[in-house]
């Protein structure tokens, strides 16, 4: 057991939920991350490893150290809470995709070599794209195609960097990179996943179009996996301090403009991940501890915020600030639990962000990077302004509105939110729990009189300024263009010239498969049971047609093709 990669548990569970009946499927989805957590806690310890040689490549699918364990623990917690939140989810493919996505993120975290890393990196992109693709919103499919396109470009860039690294005599071992072309290529690929501007627009484009349950998973894994690989491979690269601070402010500025509640929260992922990226750039022990601690806290409070936003959308069918407001009296529990997440992200004393975000700012103070300290404080004002004040005020408060229908929220959603809220408070009240699992011995003390008092002053006067500017912060029915405008406008020629020809064989194969299932279901005595139903994955014979008929495969293949062509050109120039 001490040499079994934890990803195995998650991938077996992902395969099982496709074939199991509904209740068992739900139980497996919740049990798998809990089992995985038990495996981490009781069977794996720092120094454990499983390695072998394949095709003259030294592979290490399992490498356990304190950095990987910390991310493994929080990914397990996020997987379990997400599965409870998604207990009512009827789509077995969404459940399988969520498990495969969580599993492949865990696979990345425990990969000791670059080849295994790339394998799980690509699996993560494909499985997460399905959470967007099956979102059910009018724009879900096109958003997932763009999401997959961007992540295939990112994955291909990482792969090209790895091949370059191996081709120039580098080892497969995943460790700190130096400033070679291979290192920069890999950093570029990781930067896409970390949503570093201008490579960030996929996040705010895709997450609001995912299913309610899907966006909870999405908020946890992709960007935090990127923080992990940056901490492992690029600690101390000073450019990341600048990029991280830009991220922290960029997310705040765009969140002011947003009307869609999950898009607003998505911009705040960029902002919060900015703190972690900046900390990785500082590279000191306290900074890396800060990046890991804040990633840990962030996965949980951001999951809770997306759960709260999802509960609103589930209950009302509405997702914009302009269409919401005045319903707090009918959603008291959801409001209370959301506010715990909001206080945690705002770094309010006794909540998790207070004990983790400040560790990063403390690291910047120790390194005397005064401009970064000032700008990170500025960004934290923006965080409280949006997630703690603007979003809850315009979603739930204001004049009472009985014209908005508010349906019941499933109990499983509330249970998951209670679990996440308890952790937000737990880490805030007793941070030693988290500090004990950080990569380095902790030297930071969050609860000093000065820190508590100055934080309360900062937040109180942010709230007063919000009150003063309330009329300016109302949602506006607009669309905000971001850097995705560049490839969305360029999308048509790419679609006609590259994507459609590449997609043609997949479309034809899908039509053929659909035809076979239709014929088989006619032949079968009980067409809605037996193997045709199994083939159609529970949704009737038409499902397989819709499943395969317009998947974003073409976008994926086109992205890989274009990226590889660009990198081959680059290689020709530099060689």
């Amino acid at each position: 057991m001490d040499s079994m990669p934890p990803v195995v548990i998650m991938l077996i569970a992902a395969a099982l939920v496709v074939v199991l009946p509904r209740t068992l499927r739900r139980a497996v989805a919740v049990a798998a991350p809990i089992l995985m957590l038990a495996h981490l806690a009781f069977f794996l310890e720092t120094g454990d490893s499983w390695s072998f040689t394949w095709l003259s490549l030294d592979l290490e699918p399992l490498r356990v150290d304190k950095l990987s364990l910390a991310f493994g623990y929080v990914f397990g917690i996020a997987g379990a809470l997400g599965a409870i939140y998604a207990w009512h989810q009827e789509s077995k493919l969404q459940q399988a995709a969520a498990l495969a996505y969580a599993g492949s993120s865990i696979g990345v975290v425990f990969a000791g070599d670059l080849v295994t890393l790339v394998l799980f990196w690509e699996l993560k992109a494909v499985s997460s794209a399905y959470l967007v693709w099956g979102g059910g919103w009018p724009n879900s499919q096109s958003a997932s195609a763009r999401y997959l396109f961007v992540h295939m470009v990112g994955g291909s860039t990482v792969l090209a960097g790895v091949l370059w690294h191996l081709g120039t005599g580098g080892s497969t071992d995943f460790t700190l990179f130096d400033g070679t072309i291979a290192g920069w290529l890999i950093l570029g690929g990781f930067a896409i996943n970390a949503a570093i501007p201008p490579l960030h627009a996929w996040l705010a484009d895709a997450y609001p179009e995912a299913s309610i349950t899907g966006s909870v998973f999405l908020s946890a894994f992709t960007t935090k996996t990127a923080v992990y690989v940056l901490a492992r491979g690029f600690a101390g690269w000073e450019i990341l301090i600048v990029l991280g601070v830009i991220m922290a402010l960029y997310g705040v500025i765009f969140a002011v403009l947003e009307n869609d509640i999950r898009r607003l929260l998505a911009y705040h992922i960029i902002s919060q991940v900015g703190y972690m990226v900046a900390a990785v750039g500082m590279g000191t022990e306290v900074a890396i501890n800060g990046a890991v601690a804040h990633a840990f806290a962030h996965v949980i409070y951001k999951g809770l915020l997306f759960m709260g936003a999802g509960a609103v959308i589930y209950a009302t069918g509405r997702r914009t600030l302009t269409a919401l407001g005045g319903i707090a009296g009918r959603m008291r529990i959801v409001v209370a639990l959301y506010m715990i997440g909001a206080l945690a992200i705002s770094a309010f004393p006794l909540f998790s962000g207070f004990t983790t975000k400040s560790m990063i700012i403390f690291a910047a103070e120790e390194e005397h990077i005064e401009w970064a300290v000032a700008l990170l404080y500025l960004a934290s004002v923006g965080t409280f302004l949006h997630t703690g004040l603007k979003l809850p005020y315009f979603t739930w408060f204001g004049p009472r509105r009985d014209d908005i229908p508010v349906g019941p929220v499933p109990k499983n959603m509330i249970v998951a939110m209670i679990g996440a809220a308890a952790l937000c408070v737990g880490i805030g009240v007793y941070p030693q729990l988290l500090y004990n699992i950080l990569p380095f011995a902790n030297s930071y003390e969050a609860y000093t009189a000065e820190h508590v008092v100055t934080t309360l002053q900062l937040l109180a006067f942010t709230a007063i300024a919000f009150w003063l500017l309330l009329h300016k912060l109302r949602g506006e029915a607009t669309i905000t263009i971001d850097t995705d405008w560049l490839y969305r406008k360029a999308g048509k020629p790419v679609r006609v010239l590259i994507q459609q020809p590449l997609e043609w064989p997949f479309t034809q194969a899908a039509r053929l498969a659909g035809r076979i299932v239709q014929i088989a279901s006619r032949i079968s005595l009980t067409p809605e049971s037996g193997w045709p139903r199994l083939l159609s994955l529970g949704g009737g014979p038409s499902t397989i047609i819709s499943l395969l008929g317009r998947p974003p495969l073409g976008a994926a293949v086109a992205a890989m093709f274009v990226t590889f062509a660009a990198i081959v050109l680059l290689a020709a120039v530099f060689d």
Binding site: S211, F461, L470, T480, R488
Partner: protein
């Protein structure tokens, strides 16, 4: 701007409380950057930062990136997008 009596009263009380608590409990102030060790600095920082973020972002948004018509479909942006089966 909504300069109501309630807002002014709240601000005054919050400022007074901040000063009392800071003078009573905070023995040593660190200087993170120029001016950050002045008493009540963080009240001014929170207030000013919030106003700057809102005004600059709104100006930037209205001038450059906010659109009332969807630039990708050409349709007007509604208060609420059409509903769908979003599980």
């Amino acid at each position: 701007m909504i300069l109501s009596r309630r807002l002014l009263l709240t601000t005054t009380v919050a400022l007074g409380l901040s000063a009392v608590v800071e003078l009573l409990f905070v023995e040593q102030r660190h200087r993170f950057f120029l001016g950050s060790d002045i008493t009540l600095f963080w009240t001014a920082f929170g207030f000013a930062a919030c106003i700057v973020i809102v005004l600059v972002s709104k100006w930037f948004g209205h001038t450059f990136v906010m659109r009332h018509t969807d630039p990708y479909t050409g349709e007007s942006v509604l208060d609420e997008p059409s509903e769908s089966d979003h599980g």
